[in-house]
């Protein structure tokens, strides 16, 4: 008998960022540290608001919301090669 159970907190081990097709790249010099990308990121992996984004690529799904919302367009989405 197989029961589909998992120990709580299993996503600490299981990195869920490997299915992204595009990855966000930040040009730090252009960043105005407004915090909009950090607030809009649905995964909460852009680091602390008020600082230049520090992206945790292990969990970034590549949704592009940060790049779309950035007022100074300092985030580019780059195709991830397999």
């Amino acid at each position: 008998m197989l029961i589909p159970y998992a120990k709580a907190g299993s996503t600490v081990q299981i990195k869920t960022g490997d299915w992204k097709a595009f990855m966000p790249l930040v040009t730090a010099e252009k960043c105005i540290k407004c915090g909009i990308c950090q607030n809009f990121c649905p995964e909460g992996i852009m680091g602390k608001a008020g600082l230049v984004p520090d992206i945790d690529y292990d969990y970034c799904k590549g949704c592009s919301i940060c790049a779309n919302e950035c007022p100074v367009k300092c985030i580019d989405m780059k195709r991830v090669e397999d």
Binding site: M1, I3, A6
Partner: protein
Amino acid sequence: MVVVTKEGARALGDVAVNCSVEVCACYPITPTTHLTEELAKQYADGKIPQYITVESEFSALSALVGASATGTRTLTTTGGQGLLLMHEVLHSAAGMRLPIVMVVGNRAVSSPLNIWNDEQDTISQRDTGWIQIYCKSNQDAADSLPQAFRIAETVMLPVMVCIDGHFLTHNVEQIDIADKHHVDKFLPKFRHPLPLDPENPVSVGVYANPTHYQMFREDLMNDLNESKKVIKEVGEEWGKITGREYGLVNAYKCKDAERIIVGLGSVMDNAISVVDELREKGEKVGALHLRIYRPFPAEELRELLAGKKVAVLERNISLGAAAPVYVDIFEALNVHNGHSKEHAAVISSFYGGLGGRGIKRSDIKGIFEKIKSKNPVKEWVCSKPVATNA
């Protein structure tokens, strides 16, 4: 043993208490409203520890998924549209291997709206991974409910106990209800191997990617097929306690029969009485009640029906295709797996009696007459044009 004279649906409330049900969550729907009412009353009287009032059948079964995962004995009841609304959760409950038991009062499905009996609702749920027990009388139902819990908790799969709406649920008759101390011995306390527990947190029914998903489904399929052995053993053990033994099928005078009607539900009690009548006239006929429809008892049917003229009588259809029970039986008898071709049976399909249109003794006699021919028949039963006000 206590013999009571009670309505079928209400009697099952007493049986549920004897089974030490711990959590109920029900949303009332005809034809099992009286069982819902009875379970709520037993809760109010302190005989069932928890009763969750919910806003829909979807929520009823969802609540029991959570309750069952903590390791409690759970029961719900529904029928017709209510069962259809549960469809998604039916798959989940079986996939999570939760031994939830449900009493279904079989009811026709919309549209047109109809509250009367046929078996379309449960037959439409045959692929969900639930074990399905069909009862031909209220005595069958009262005996099958404790067995359902025992089977469910042994093989860790959910079980539906299907009773014909109105024909059984609203039928007042004498029912022999097993005593609580007998049931207690038969039905030990349920222990979940890995219960939900805040001290040792787990996620239930988690995501499985393409690498793992099919492995779970293959395992579920295998365990459901293997459960036939447990269902048989449990039925035999129940026979030792009460004198009424149960198996995967109830074969009535089938051994030397040339013509056999196979079907499920209360209509088979009618078929059995027709068999008695025709036997007195010297006709070699038999009746076979398909008690367990899922897992499908293909081997038993192959053994009992080989070389005979068979009529499959069912009160459900598959729109745009042949009737489902007929298809299953046809497959069981024609895919030989080493069996010789001479055992092949002539299998006819009769479907109808939908939405409460009763299949009478005369209809059953007509079916026995029709399958005398060498060629199989495929047709509606009880089909009659009704004047419309067009």
